[in-house]
Each structure stands twice: as structure tokens, then as C-alpha cells.
Symmetry: C2
Subunit: 219 residues, 2 copies
């Protein structure tokens, strides 16, 4: 079954108000999140593997994929469903070779130039952005906006047809519909899920906005 | 063929005065270094894989093993010979499972307690220390000295007989003989190799001290 990238929650231990990631994953899943990524840019490898395993205990019974940001070793050790990589992370060719064809490989795309790279076809989906300004990541580049997302999506459509596009950066329940209207198949969210006091409620609001914009009923 | 751990050079991009790691590996190998470790605690995954591949281009034709500190993903992507892990890194059980029995697995041991852990038998060799004070690593624990190394070596001898013990931290051509005299099979060195202007010459001095203390001719 192909994953549903509509509501993509990024679990970052530095953006969860100190709450356990596995508990937040459960609450977010209750609210409709369809795929998770674990992003830990500062922790030790042992900590990341432990976090991935704890989240998988929650996501696996629900058949929700968990992807690991950058770290193929953590994905392999914990048995996660795949890896998401950006420019400084392991090259997509290496990820695909190490994880095999069944694993999910996500690729961050910031520009039209990146969207035309030879290796975009290795990805299963694309994280496109940063769409809006965000507090979750030090991002030296200006936001591309929904217009920029639309352009990149079209370029990707020519080079890697059929792969879902997920908007990322600064996306909330309030602006998610505009990202979907610009052609995204889903939205990746950190703060408007995991910096909220009531994660399940935040997830329901976000899911409702995304499903509405996709022309689907919120389940 | 079992690796020779006598002269173990740790290549750390933050402790090489900005010189290319592959060039330093070649110079150190010329001076007698028998095994290398790449340790990069701050770089991106893509950078680490690139560094590992560059070093392997130098070490592989010479049949000198290259181990990667902590990062199984980097070792797998670059085709390195193994991984060295400490307390915060991937657990030895996971490393062994992911890399297989033919890969080299090194384990850092700081205390008698660690030397008696159930999983020490998974390792191919041990890095024991910190033997002396060092500028190469923020180490909160006091040095164990050559006496501490000798005690740990005996404990390991009961729990994981036959595996080489490599002393680490603050070891130089001047004090290497005392580490070997305390029962180490080799010494792991950063600064007295890679912070020296003439790495090949520094490696020859270190190798001579180690080989002399081991009762071998320096080759």
C-alpha cells in the first residue's frame, strides 16, 4: 500500500516541549496524522535508535510509516520504514542502495534546479520548501511561498512524475489549505502539531483543513 | 588476516590543522600506522561519506583497515572495514547485526564495570582509556592511567579473552612505551600524529616506540 502523505508530522525532540515523542505520535495519530518523521539533529545515535523504536511501537500497529531524517543507520537499527534526506545528508543513491527498493526515500527540494537533478527519480516523495517562514529550522534561504511550491511541483512532475509533493516549513491548520491549493499532496508540520498543548486536537484541525482542501472527507 | 592494532591513528577533521584527511592518512601509513579511524562528530553525513571514501582510496591498496567512529551508515555507504562505538553510540548488538560478522567492531571501555558487560564479547578489539589527559576530547572523567588500563585489560581478559586492547587518550611517542608495558597491544593517537607538521616523521617515531616496547623490530 502506498503511504498517504497528506498529514506529515515531524517529531523533533527539540520542538516537543520535552514531552515523550512516542506519546505525541500516538496523540497525533489519533488526530489523523498519516506519516511521521523523526528528526534529531543533536542527539546521540543510541538516543535516536531508542526514540525510533519507541515511536515505532506506536506507529507500527496503526500501519503509519515512520521515516528517519538523514540517518540510515538509525532506520536500519530500529527497523523504520525509510529515510528522508536533504542536501547535506546521505546521497539518495547511497540511501537507496543501503535500504533497498521497498524502503521509503524522501528528498528535500528547495529549488527548480534541485527538482531537475538526475537523482530525483530515486525518491518516493518530495518535501518541497521552505514554503513559509519558520521557527523550527535555521533556514538561510527566503521562503518560496505557495507560488514557488507550485513551480517546483510542475518541474518535478516532468522529471519524476507521480511522486507526491509535501509542502514544508511554517505550515499550520490556518494556511494548509493554500499549500494544498498550490498542488501539494500533503503538508509536513512540526510546531502546529507538537508545540501545541493538545496535540490530538491540533492534529484534528490540521487534518480537517488538509482533507477539506484535498476535497476529501476528514476521517 | 587479523588487523594489527599496534599503531592506531584517529583522523578527526577538527584535529588535523585543516589538511586533507586522505593525504594525512597516506603520510601516517608511510610512517607505520597500522589502522585508521575516521572520527567526525560535527560534519554532515554527506561530508563524512566523502571523507571516508577519500581515506579508503589511500588505505585499501595498502590493506590498512579504516573504521568509522559511531556511524554505521557512513561505514556501509563508503564500504569501510568496521565501526568503533562508545557508550552513546549505536549499541554493539545493533552494529554487529547491521554490519555482519566480517566487519570490525571496536568498543570503548572506560571502567571495570564496562569491561564486565554482557556484550563485550561482540567486539573485535577494545579502546581502553582515557589513559592520559588529552586536548582532543572533552572528557569529564579523570584519566585512568597505565595502572587503570592494566586492571581493565585483566578484567577484559576474563570476559573477552584474546581481543586486543588499544590504549587511548593523551598518548605520544614519549609515553607510548609505558602504555604497551601496561599490557596494551597498541595505542590510539590523534594529536601526536595529526597535529604535527610532519605526520610521516611523527608516525615513524610513534611506531618505533610502540614496536620497541612490543619487542618487535620497527618495519
Amino acid at each position: 500500500m502506498k503511504p498517504d502523505y497528506a498529514v506529515y508530522g515531524i517529531l523533533d525532540p527539540s520542538r516537543c516541549q520535552g514531552r515523550p515523542l512516542d506519546r505525541l505520535a500516538g496523540e497525533a495519530a489519533d488526530g489523523g496524522v498519516t506519516v511521521f518523521q523523526l528528526r534529531n539533529k543533536t542527539g546521540s545515535t543510541r538516543e535516536m535508535v531508542r526514540q525510533a523504536r519507541a515511536i515505532l511501537d506506536v506507529t507500527r500497529p496503526r500501519r503509519i510509516p515512520l521515516l528517519i531524517n538523514d540517518r540510515v543507520d538509525v532506520a536500519l537499527a530500529a527497523g523504520a520504514d525509510g529515510v528522508h534526506v536533504g542536501n547535506d545528508d546521505m546521497a539518495p543513491e547511497d540511501v537507496r542502495r543501503l535500504l533497498g527498493d521497498d524502503a521509503i526515500l524522501g528528498l528535500t527540494i528547495h529549488s527548480n534546479e534541485e527538482a531537475q537533478a538526475d537523482n530525483v527519480g530515486l525518491a518516493d516523495y518530495f518535501g518541497v520548501g521552505g514554503v513559509f517562514a519558520t521557527a523550527s529550522k535555521n533556514n538561510p534561504d527566503p521562503p518560496i511561498g505557495t507560488d514557488g511550491l507550485d513551480v517546483i511541483r510542475r518541474v518535478l512532475g516532468r522529471h519524476a512524475a507521480g511522486r507526491p509533493v509535501v509542502g514544508i516549513a511554517g505550515i499550520t491548520a490556518q494556511n494548509a489549505a493554500s499549500v494544498i491549493a498550490a498542488g501539494a499532496d500533503g503538508v509536513a508540520v512540526i510546531s502546529d502539531l507538537f508545540m501545541r498543548a493538545d496535540v490530538a486536537s491540533a492534529a484534528r484541525k490540521l487534518t480537517s483543513a488538509v482533507r477539506g482542501a484535498l476535497g476529501e472527507e476528514s476521517s
